[in-house]
């Protein structure tokens, strides 16, 4: 397996970090990105016009592609989700590195993981970036802030590397239904 990161424009520019004004500025921040995120594989800077970004995903903010051994798209995660990617990788490796895997495309926004692990982006942009995220996503900035606070508690569930086993998913679903029923019951009692 090879891993590469393609570094793109600011998703959440703010008063701390605004949009890039040149390719050089972007390349310099790609180094900071690699360091801060602790990325061990190559980080490649996309050009100033975002040519690779646009050709691959139009302009999705955080997509991931799994390219098979023949250079074809085996899997496209429109909102990067590690457990789903892991499942796709395992499937591809089990198939000798060729073909379409894990349903080919995952369009789900995976909001839970995004709120638990998505605060550092807008935070780096600054207060304005968090506020704009709130306005655009009906409180998404605040939810990310709270998710980040609750990270020690939620991380094992939200940021797991492995897909949840079916039994855990059923238990979780059952739990949610029970909580919802409880809430509805309490509301109705009044």
């Amino acid at each position: 397996m090879h891993f590469v990161d393609v570094f793109i424009r600011q998703a959440h520019p703010g008063e701390l970090r605004g949009p890039y004004h040149s390719y050089e500025e972007k390349l310099a921040e790609a180094q900071e990105y690699k360091r801060e995120e602790g990325i061990e594989w190559p980080v490649l800077a996309d050009d100033y016009a975002g040519t690779v970004h646009r050709a691959y995903s139009r302009e999705m903010a955080d997509p991931v592609f799994l390219i098979d051994s023949d250079g074809r798209v085996a899997f496209y995660g429109m909102w990067t989700h590690p457990p789903t990617l892991k499942r796709a990788i395992d499937e591809l490796l089990a198939r000798d590195g060729r073909g379409v895997v894990a349903g080919g495309i995952d369009r789900m926004p995976h909001l839970f993981a995004s709120f638990v692990d998505g605060y550092q982006g807008p935070r780096r942009g600054g207060r304005r970036a968090v506020l704009e995220y709130d306005l655009a996503g009906l409180g998404a900035g605040t939810l990310s802030f709270l998710g980040n606070k609750a990270k020690p508690l939620l991380a094992p569930l939200a940021l797991r590397a492995e897909p949840l086993p079916l039994s855990a998913r059923l238990a979780l679903g059952g739990g949610l239904v029970a909580v919802a029923a409880l809430v509805v019951g309490l509301v109705r009692r009044d």
Partner: protein
């Protein structure tokens, strides 16, 4: 806010159809504010499944790494490659 055109082509990428874009396009791409339309655009793209389709050939590109090397996607062929696209903010 000023957007300046890079003086030298910064990277060669994605086969032949690689328009560098007008000033207006560059400014729009490197936006200064994250508005609701940006989030809606991503959601709408998800509904439509826009982007490279599974089974299609991944367009080749050559980009500069933070270490100063030029990395070409096609040079990695023979083993699967994970290409993650991400930003700092």
């Amino acid at each position: 806010m000023s957007t300046q055109e890079p003086e030298t082509p910064d990277s060669t990428s994605v086969s032949a159809q690689s328009p560098q874009g007008s000033q207006e396009q560059l400014r729009k791409y490197n936006y200064e504010h994250f508005w609701p339309k940006h989030l809606f655009a991503d959601l709408w793209r998800s509904v439509r499944g826009e982007g490279l389709q599974p089974g299609s050939e991944a367009p080749d590109f050559e980009l500069e790494s933070t270490e100063g090397d030029r990395v070409r996607l096609s040079a990695l062929r023979g083993r699967p490659v994970v290409v993650h696209i991400g930003s700092f903010t």
